[in-house]
């Protein structure tokens, strides 16, 4: 199906998933204005959210099934397989977040169904980011997502740490947005357009100017903040630590994946002709992997450890981005699927153990969990091994794909850094397994209240099954990722006449 963005109907079709999501968000907003008192209202809101995510996924599937493409070059929004697959990852992450939010909100007495509205809006923003093929659309999506997540981070408003997290995230996020906007402005100044494809065409013809390079650097800094790459990661541990755990899980997975999707599209379609970004990202990836893993090694709190580990994983994803090419994009998608599952699974188990935000759960507090809650411990062990990149789990497959992308791009040293830092990561993932399986319970009733309700259990089960399944039989996932990864960089067959006039300096 080919869409012509100058026709109204086609334009609406190209943003159908976002429209469906927006409609649901408005319905949900009306609903919570009317019913927001009891836990039952909260449940209904949660179910409506799941319905919203499911119907959006179906809309995406429909567009994907019909091979939707957008005619012409300079559209604001892309319609390619990369967008659909990235959207599915985001929706999947959001759905798992909803499933672990049910019991969490009730247990922590966060009886405000607006939570789900914000979650939907954040997901919507993430989808817009993954879809945008224009700097302004990407920025729009980023802000929509970020503002919703700022509020979500401070959702547990009775706890000081949650408020601190929200404020910190807001201040630094706003700062990062400033960088990003300034970068957009400079790029616009250099190329007279904000459209990614047109920027790419400009660059391939006219080469890069100093202004463009500074703009690119600022864009990378802005995204560096959003994905929590070292040295722009300072906010991440505190924010992840303070936010309610399901929100942390959402931030670590969907928010990060959306920022990476936008970054990939930006670099591959707009800056393919500027090789400088490979070098910048090379260093960014290297220090993020080294830094994230080394910082995580020193953590005793489970939640902070997971926060730093998500920094480390941002480094692995940066390796995929740096490698570039269709391989890099496919590797990103595969890893994003694996990472979303294993990270959410780990946070789900953590939320079962903790109380009051889980920031005080030490790794050693899990001691003896395997004896009392064997399935929960098993799920956590699978997630940890997958995060470690152990064969038989999806985490290994993802890492393997990234390594393939890196080595085939000639980045052997980066690949070596990746595996060496993975060895370091064994130093903090294994103690979790050790505590659960090899240490005795500190007191008899240490794990009595470690419980998940049935929906959270369903989420954890789905995660474990998915991790093991993709770990052993990833063929379908590869096919999907391969076509999607290739779709992001269709060779541009433009002529100069399609371009806007070059600005006169």
């Amino acid at each position: 199906m080919r869409l012509d963005p100058s026709v109204y109907r086609d334009l609406l079709l190209s943003i159908l998933p976002e429209l469906v999501m927006t409609g649901w968000a408005l319905v949900l907003l009306l609903f919570v204005a009317w019913r927001h008192k009891t836990t039952r209202d909260l449940r209904i809101a949660g179910w409506l959210t799941l319905a919203a995510l499911a119907s959006t996924a179906i809309a995406i599937w429909w567009l994907w099934w019909n091979h939707t493409e957008i005619e012409g070059l300079a559209a604001m929004i892309a319609a390619d397989d990369f967008r659909w697959v990235a959207d599915w990852v985001l929706l999947g992450g959001a759905a798992l977040t909803v499933l672990i939010s049910f019991f969490y909100l009730e247990r922590e007495q966060l009886l405000a169904p607006e939570y789900y509205v914000l979650l939907l809006l954040a997901t919507l923003g993430a989808m817009v980011m993954a879809a945008g093929s224009d700097l302004m659309v990407i920025f729009l999506g980023l802000e929509l997502m970020s503002v919703a997540v700022y509020v979500l981070a401070g959702f547990d408003r009775r706890r000081a740490r949650s408020a601190e997290a929200a404020l910190k995230y807001f201040l630094l996020g706003a700062f990062a947005s400033g960088f990003l906007l300034y970068g957009i402005a400079l790029v616009y100044g250099a190329t007279a357009t904000t459209n990614l494809a047109l920027i790419g065409a400009q660059v391939s013809i006219g080469g890069s100017s100093i202004m463009l390079l500074i703009g690119l650097a600022l864009l990378i800094v802005g995204f560096g903040f959003k994905v929590a790459a070292v040295p722009f990661h300072m906010w991440a541990p505190d924010v992840y630590d303070g936010a309610p755990t399901p929100v942390t899980a959402f931030m670590a997975t969907a928010v990060k994946a959306a920022a990476f999707a936008a970054l990939l599209r930006l670099l591959n379609s707009a800056f393919a002709g500027v090789p400088a970004w490979h070098d910048i990202l090379w260093w960014l990836a290297a220090i993020t992997m080294v830094g994230g893993n080394l910082f995580a090694l020193g953590q005793r709190s489970l939640k902070r450890m997971l926060a730093y580990s998500s920094v480390a994983h941002a480094g692995y994803l940066l390796v995929a981005v740096t490698s570039g090419g269709p391989e890099g994009s496919s590797a990103f998608l595969v890893y994003a699927v694996a990472y979303t599952m294993m990270s959410l699974g780990a946070f789900a188990v953590l939320s079962a153990k903790g109380r009051g935000g889980e920031s005080d759960v030490l790794i050693d507090d899990l001691a003896g969990l395997a004896g009392k809650r064997p399935w929960l411990a098993f799920a956590m062990a699978v997630c940890m091994l997958s995060l470690l990149g152990f064969p038989g789990t999806a985490g290994f497959i993802g890492k393997w794909y990234i390594l393939i992308a890196a080595t085939s791009a000639g980045q052997d040293i980066l690949a070596a850094i990746l595996v060496l830092t993975s060895v370091v990561s064994a130093g903090y993932y294994l103690p979790v397994i050790m505590a659960m399986y090899m240490k005795p319970e500190p007191i008899e009733a240490a794990h009595v209240d470690v419980l998940l309700d049935r929906w959270a259990r369903a989420a954890v089960t789905a995660v474990v099954v998915g991790l093991l399944l993709f770990g052993v039989w990833p063929n379908r996932l590869f096919e999907l990722a391969r076509t999607a990864g290739a779709s992001i960089q269709r060779p541009t067959t433009t002529t100069t006449t399609a371009l806007p006039p070059t600005p006169t300096h």
Binding site: L385, F390, P391, G392, W400, L403, I404, T407, S408, D412, A415, A416, V419, L420, S422, V423, A426, G427, L430, P431, M434, Y437, M438, K439, P474, N475, F478, E479, R482
Partner: protein, 514 residues
Amino acid sequence: MSYGPWVITLLLTWPLLSGLIVLFVPTRLAKQVALAASLIEFAISVPLWWAFVPSGGMQFMVDLPWIPAWGIHYTVGLDGISLFLVLLTTFLMPLSVLGSWSYITKRENGFYALLLVLTTGMIGVFVSLDLFLFYVMWEVMLIPMYFIIGVWGGENRLYAAIKFFIYTFFGSLLMLVAILVLYLHTGRATGIYSFSYAHLLTQIGTLGPAAWWLFAAFFLAFAIKVPLFPLHTWLPDAHVEAPTAGSVILAGILLKMGTYGFLRFAVPFFPGVALNQVVQLVIVGLALIGIIYGGLVAMVQPDFKKLIAYSSVAHLGFVVLGIWALTLQSVQGALLVMINHGISTGALFFLVGMIYERRHSRLIAAYGGLARVVPLFSAILTVVSLSSIALPGTNGFVGEFLVLLGSFRTYPVITALATTGVIVAAMYLLTALQRVIYNPLTHHENEKLTDLSARELAVLVPLLVCILWLGIYPKPFLRRMEPSARQLIEQVRPGGTQGEPPFVTANEGGGSQQ
């Protein structure tokens, strides 16, 4: 159905399946079920001995696509090198289950299930003929061992377990990158992207200076596993803390994966580097240091288990020496030492475990004069120790003699020095033997020790039979190894086996009966 290619797949899936079953049977039945499962596994593998045709190629091959997008196949097969390691694995597993019968008292289901899963991993390493599959198996067997040490180990088990894990993980991940580079290199050169062992081996072409890095990555992974001095420090910790079955499997099979890796991958893939004068000298030198240093350190150990652990470093030094000497005799000798070490050291660990169960001490000084109290135990310990020392007539002699004989032509000086390792072995083991069995009975706790039970004899007798069989008549083993060893040497050094006598007619077995 005739005995055919399905057998390897069955050997791989059966332990996994039965491991799952063991996990869910009632606890009191766990060990019985595990014993039955491992005996069935052994029974499946035994006919391989006869079905195997002594020739150079791979047999019982299965080749199915697994992840076709990357040229990853499920390819398994056996040759004269891996056959015995597979048989050794299936042979030691029932004994390990039986040896843990009363030693393991908590979480029995988990323990026996892990032992069975471990079997799959170990056999998988030896039969994989696809480098991706090999890597997966190589890592997969890490987890059960990690749990076995960490959950059922001694006092300091957490430290030992994580050290074991991280050492191995470190080496194997570098190997992973090397495998990938190899895959992309041959893929670009030939247009066929495949992880198949045969494809990579024949199409590897000229690698240029990259060969050095790739060899280093493979070598490091295997050298850690062997373990080659100075990468051996994880071994004493892991051995001492692991439960008896864990130590037996660790010494008997896991260490052999490193030397197997040398033979199968590191040397044939990069003959240019492996046969470089300096590289050879460094590696053989490290092996020699391992032989002497391992023996000397073993001599001063107060802990019997640690003594055996260090003796492993020495024995594996002989294997590395034999592999790098690369003559028909030395390679076959190395293969025999691999098997012998699995049997003798396995038996030693079993014996230490049995006495530990009675006395709860592994210190040599805690014993003395046991010959009068537990004569059967003492007799068996003596025989096993002598075989570990390589006394003529036992298995140990045949292997080490062949290694020394074969290596002498390549490295006369180093081999002469390595021979002193045999003397050192006699010094530490005989001293320990004397202090445990013969000296006066000074500890009164030892007066009430009970001798070996029928179950314990059932563990030890098969090992004793092997010790004598291999010591007196190793020909059936050598006959099956020879074509594969010859092929390997020819592959690495064309014409390397010319002028060497075909072994099986040589009189080395009888020569030991002087």
